[in-house]
């Protein structure tokens, strides 16, 4: 299954242009106005957040839109089910694929971060597995949306009501600690915040505080998403 998915790698390019334009547009523009944030240049600060956000978007788009197209539009899932594979295998394959594609986005941004000298310590390499973890969490949640969806419109609810606000409060553009306490609590319950909390210290050049806590939250989202996606996929495909 993965063999076939790999053929789509070319499409990743389009996932990169957007976040990079955002990164340099906002990063340089705002960076010129702002003093350093949390001891790093605003560009580096924002780059860490943008790495996670771009990974989140790639994972979500792939698992929701591309997944739904394969499941609903092209009926590829139906075809796969005639082979000795089950719906559980397909869900697992879709999640791992979307996470891999998201990881490619994250690691390319990381490459840019390093090339532009925004991070120089070897710690930053740990952002690679972190990006995969972020991808896994959002792919799994995205796939729940995919197997629940009755039509394409369904995804705009999730994107507008969940992803966009999440991006605003998770410390991507500014330190989340500036938020009022209730909003910060919401951010802490969501996965993106924890991704940023891992990646930003790595970009700054040190070990992230509470690394295992943040990683555990991301893993929990991945595991719960995987379980629920399988549950709803089984339900969808048994009727």
């Amino acid at each position: 299954m993965l063999v076939w998915r790999k053929l789509f790698a070319a499409a990743v390019l389009s996932n990169l242009a957007d976040p990079l334009i955002m990164l340099f547009g906002l990063g340089y523009g705002l960076g010129a106005l702002l003093p350093s944030v949390e001891g790093m240049s605003y560009l580096a600060f924002f780059a860490a957040g943008q790495l996670c956000t771009a990974t989140m978007f790639t994972a979500s788009f792939e698992s929701m839109f591309s997944g739904f197209s394969r499941m609903h539009g092209q009926k590829t899932w139906d075809a796969i089910l005639y082979a000795p594979l089950t719906i559980d295998d397909i869900v697992a394959g879709e999640i791992v694929w979307a996470a891999s594609k998201a990881w490619l986005t994250g690691s390319t941004i990381l490459g840019v971060v390093v090339v532009f000298g925004l991070a120089s310590s070897p710690w930053v390499l740990l952002a690679l597995p972190a990006a995969f973890l972020v991808g896994l969490a959002f792919s799994a949640v995205g796939l729940i949306m995919c197997v629940l969806a009755r039509g394409w419109d369904f995804f705009s609810y999730y994107m507008t009501l969940m992803m966009t606000p999440m991006m605003m409060i998770s410390g991507v553009f500014f330190p989340a600690e500036q938020l009022p306490a209730p909003l910060l609590a919401v951010a802490k319950a969501l996965p993106l915040y924890h991704g940023v909390q891992i990646v930003r210290p790595l970009v700054a050049g040190g070990p992230p505080p509470d690394l295992w806590l943040h990683a555990a939250v991301l893993l929990a989202y991945a595991a719960a998403g995987y379980t629920l996606a399988i549950y709803f996929a089984r339900r969808r495909f048994s009727s």
Binding site: M1, W4, L7, K75, T76, D78, A79, Y82, A83, P84
Partner: protein, 300 residues
Amino acid sequence: MTALSARALRKSYGDLEVVSGVDLAVAPGECFGLLGPNGAGKTTTLKLCLGLIEPDSGEIELLGEPVPRKAREARARVGVVPQFDNLDPDFTVEENLVVYARYFGIAKEEIRERISALLEFAGLAGRGDSKITTLSGGMKRRLTLARALVNDPQLVFMDEPTTGLDPQARHLIWERLRRLTQEGKTLVLTTHFMEEAERLCHRLAIMDRGRIIAEGSPRALIAEHIEPQVLEVHGPGYETWMQRAKGLAPRVERVGDTVYCYGEDIEPVLKSISGELSYLHRPASLEDVFLKLTGRDLRD
């Protein structure tokens, strides 16, 4: 040993029982047809046999494996041609076959060796690099058939294999399906083309409202349920003529504006036709059986 057997199969969706006590037995090497009007439960029965959905009750054995418990093992030796083509539009003809073979764990090198034979079978030799979107309906159907054969299956399920095809494409598919039975493969197909069932199937079952209501070879079914000769009559004055025909043929019925006369010897009825009445005299067909049993003919 049977290639496929089902006993007392039941499946409901909500309050609606779609399959209500189906028994099936398909012998190895046989071409078995499952006939029925839309909504009869044919596709659901196929899905149950493949282990894609679980029955509420009943037992299924596919190629010696209990289904759904060992459906994976069974499906490894089964091919499926679904009702609607679901080829991958992003891939070429050849890639579709290679990728599909990978789902069966067949090595790339192994499938590459067999690709030309599969393409030849599908009448797509030399089209390996074509995009799916450039193929005609008949070509897609044949490619779907070739795809169902990547794992060299012992049994092939086909859900309405020729629906929506033109006569040329249909005849080519029939020819290929006969070739498959000659190779010793077991075929299970659903269709609502009686002509198709009559030509291809060794044995068939007619299904309606979730039940099998008749079973046998096409010839035996016709002999059992319908008189050998059929006369269809329509045109001005058919109603008065019908009263006369009732005394001449053993069975006369009206469907819309057409009168059907069935009998062993239809000559006397034939002679009584006069005036502007049009008629068609033909041997009884499976379609007559089907219409009689599924009760779709509107008897007055």
